[in-house]
């Protein structure tokens, strides 16, 4: 595993043996805890895991911005952590969450709103909120 200049709670806690990839990241699935709906897949760094466990608000690592991404910091659509699970190989996380509003930046509840049906990719869910409304100056 990668070396860190600073010490994080996740270095010693129950998730000390997480198998982060060469970029120091692990894929995390967010699932709505009560309905079972898979909302999104994003990435977490060791720091993101530690912050999520300590605050109870889901924090990812944005690969495009190269920094921590506190889900909902721009849109208000926060995710509260209900439970964090880890898989058999310790290289994937499942976050049971309570999603406030919508998970997708397009205004849809789930990011997985396109499906292959009859050989074509079709939209199976409409936006619940206009994206402009989500990212209006808050």
């Amino acid at each position: 595993m990668e070396e860190h200049a600073t010490d994080h709670p996740a270095d010693h806690g129950p998730l000390a043996d997480i198998a982060f990839d060469a970029q120091g990241l692990i894929p995390a699935i967010a699932q709505q805890h009560d309905t079972g709906e898979v909302l999104m897949l994003a990435w977490m760094s060791r720091e993101a895991v530690a912050e999520t466990l300590s605050t109870g608000r889901v924090c990812y690592f944005s690969r495009s911005r190269g920094s921590l991404w506190r889900k909902g910091e721009a849109s208000g659509q926060v995710q509260h952590l209900i439970e964090l699970r880890i898989d058999c190989d310790s290289d994937a996380l499942l976050l049971l969450v309570d999603q406030h509003g919508v998970a997708c930046h397009t205004g849809r509840r789930s990011c997985f709103f396109r499906a292959v049906r009859d050989g074509a990719l079709v939209e199976i869910a409409a936006p619940l909120v206009a994206p402009e409304a989500l990212y209006r100056a808050r």
Copy 2:
């Protein structure tokens, strides 16, 4: 996207714009279609996606073996594809499947059988099948 010597259906079909990573892979979540249980996260290559869509039996790409991995080929625990979905950024897949038996090589239904509870990592599901029984010579 990477170049391929051979031509695959997924090059032209509904999934032509899948954003495979630098290794030519995309993470795929397998979810039991009726119960909503998240079973596992694995990786697919373009060829794995094409085969899965054409056969209806889920085929991943094994990063450890470096080859196609027809789920259940060794254990008999196959996954039938019900629907393939893709996320907003086209860089993650959600497979709604019908899992025969158990998804995890440890004999558990789901690979996500450990959870952080009260600051400790605990097992929340027991094996339904002994691993030795799964991988006995068939």
